[in-house]
Symmetry: C2
Subunit: 440 residues, 2 copies
């Protein structure tokens, strides 16, 4: 008999590894933040003496979701402008607001709001890209969520830095500052091919090699980005990144719409990661990422919500549904983007993109106990013929009852244990008053 | 001072008429099931003495949603088979189950489950098409929801009837049976061009004219339907219906993917109604209805979830989001399918399709008090820069707190007042056991 910290019993477990697996009436044994066993509930008593036991009898237990692309602090800009294409949305609404209003306090409050939303929706890890990454990292530490913090780089001056070198210097300082935080890591985050010139991109490639960091970047978000690049550089953005040596397994390319077959083949050959953000691409009419074609070519895919300003939420269950539904139409095939593939994209695929797949993304002994329980015994989800299909096609974020990171119970029966919801709402209202006049 | 039944105060009201309207801190005055006034909350006390007053201080009040296309009883087949195209999904899973398992008891229990789901999600009226329409109508009467019951006609024998004439005879008997029920109406419901031949379609046209009934029909659901029709009839299905005299303001054509410009122009010229069911079309990879092009041509659009077997829920808020997001990509324009147009599609547009727009679909004096309140003061929806955008792009069905039909409070602070949730769940489990082996 082994003394351990905790056992969680569930009606169903979808461990993601093995792929397509379903366990019925099983339990996860957790000790010191790690999964030490996954076994039939009936066998727990004869093997373990847990300090605490939780029964989730109507629930599906899955790996916590990995939101592989977001701008957490932008939660304060949720729905600040809608029904506009990317370019005017950025230049008329987002960028003016950002240059006049974004501050450390803004990032702190916006990130808290985003983390609260993500934990309530079963997300245990997020890949961020925004100004004041040090503040975002601090808020993640305080809340206990796992985070990959992007060290943003842009050519032009913003509230965070004046020029590419300053972004890099400040970013590397943030990298050093959070080295000892086990739930925080950093990634280099050049914003996009159209906002970062060759010289800083070459430096970023060098730093990525030296520090073994992944590179988080918007790539091929719109058709306009591609035609502009052809005019300015004589190359499509992905080809330009390739020329600069960035197309390699460190690259986490977000969006990737408008891909040619040759680009898909090259993405596969070079082992890059692609993050699919269907709702943002749909909302801004940017086009669709050919997720099934990428998968067929062997490219690893993660899933991200993008920021709340263009989505307008950080709901990974909703994003899975949109990825499945839009993936079928994009592939012109109802068999494409099936529920198991989509769940993997939302968990292990994202973990791979973040180079965290040895620690999170599946329910396997040795991995961190990053978990999420979803109550499927609801009018909206019964009958349940298959729990993973129920999750992807019927469930909603409010059915998430519990979220754990490293075995820490951050959402317990719908209650946030490390964040003060009333305080977060109060602060968001304060910002809403300040920002309302940008909402046009 | 006028004595009235009820006043509902709300932080915001989106009345749908006038289009795009927003009222802040207003109230709806209700008497004898009808809206008698919409006025500033501050003025209520000086004009009305209500028997009951409800404050919804963090809520958006909208017209109850009109689910303009569903197969309610199919809720028992939620997720019975996923990730399959329409044809094998029908022939391998749905039709065998239907011929062996569907009965009056099945339709009663499935319809109860569907009505519970719809009321919990703010739907106050649904347009149904299924076997045993008399049972569906009975369940709607018992629950108090408004319903338009399709009198289904198919060429081949099913559990409900043996041949087209029997379907028609039984359907017309159902029409007579429910004439006195004010919340129930019937529509003729030939299943689809590929399942109903010319002779019964001509009879249906005659009955529609004589009885002034709308015709609820799947039209142009898939590309395969069109090529088969070309082979068999030498005409596209829409053209064949036109030849048969069915393309007129009585026609409620559901799906309408694969439309040519000439078909869109003809749809407009003849004043037909189109019901958009984006999630079902996406899930079965059937293609997309060109909703914005239809709207631009002046065609009135409703929104429907389709049955839970191909969606897999009856969530009109989620369907609005899918209609907005997919509508932008279909139109290649982020300005298309804007939040106000989508809300109209989900309310007044559906009411028009059902010939019920003089009674429901907008918050205006004289109309029935068919209403829905959504709590937007949640981590997932704040800040709220625009309540309609928050509803369409951020809110979820669980934020619906109250639903009224004819002023009757059918969902009161998340509690169903006319249905027994535990009993509905219990019965659904019984069916799940019986049906599980069709889930392959």
């Amino acid at each position: 008999m082994q003394q351990i910290d905790r056992v969680v019993h569930a009606r169903w477990i979808a461990p993601v590894r093995p792929a397509g697996g379903r366990l019925h009436n099983h339990a996860v044994a957790i000790d010191q933040g790690r999964i030490i066993d996954v076994l039939p509930s009936a066998e727990v008593e004869s093997r373990y003496t847990p300090k605490s036991t939780l029964h989730r009898d109507h629930h599906l237990l899955v790996p916590g979701f990995v939101n592989a692309h977001t701008h957490a602090a932008m939660n304060l800009m949720r729905g600040i402008a809608n029904d506009k294409p990317l370019k005017p949305w950025l230049t008329e609404n987002i960028w003016p607001l950002e240059s006049e209003q974004v501050s450390a306090a803004f990032v702190a409050d916006g990130t808290d709001l985003a983390i609260a939303e993500m934990l309530r929706g079963g997300t245990t890890c997020f890949n961020d890209m925004y100004y004041f990454p040090d503040i975002a990292a601090e808020r993640a530490v305080a809340a206990g969520i796992r985070a990959s913090i992007g060290l943003i780089v842009i050519d032009f001056p913003t509230v965070w830095a004046a020029h590419a070198d300053e972004y890099l210097d400040k970013g590397l300082a943030v990298h050093d500052q959070f080295k000892s935080q086990s739930r925080i890591q950093t990634m280099l985050a050049p914003h996009a091919p159209y906002t970062v010139s060759d010289a800083p991109l070459e430096k970023i490639r060098t730093y990525a090699d030296e520090l073994d960091l992944h590179i988080h970047m918007h790539v091929h978000e719109t058709a306009g980005e591609i035609s502009e690049s052809l005019e300015q550089h004589g190359q499509r953005p992905f080809a330009r990144l390739d020329t600069l040596g960035l197309v390699n397994p460190n690259l986490v390319a977000v969006h990737m719409t408008q891909l040619t077959d040759a680009e898909i083949a090259r993405a596969s050959e070079c082992g890059i990661h692609v993050v699919h953000s269907p709702e943002s691409n749909l909302k801004l009419a940017s086009g669709l990422c050919p997720s099934q074609a990428l998968k067929n070519a062997g490219v690893s895919l993660g899933l991200g919500t993008d920021g709340a300003a263009s989505n307008n939420d950080l709901d990974m269950i909703g994003e899975m549904r949109s990825a499945a539904l839009s993936g079928k139409v994009a592939a012109d095939n109802a068999v494409a983007a099936n529920a198991d593939d989509i769940l993997e994209m939302a968990t292990l695929g994202g973990a791979r993109a973040l180079d965290l797949d040895s620690r999170t993304g599946s329910i396997e002994p040795g991995k961190a106990a990053d978990l999420c329980a979803i109550d499927l015994e609801r009018i909206e989800t019964i009958p349940v013929y298959d729990p993973v299909a129920a999750l992807v096609y019927s469930a909603s974020r409010e059915q998430v009852t519990d979220t754990w990171v490293d075995g820490q119970h951050l959402l317990a029966d719908r209650r946030l244990t490390t964040l003060n919801e009333a305080e977060i709402l109060f602060r968001a209202h304060g910002w809403q008053e300040k920002l309302a006049h940008y909402a046009r």
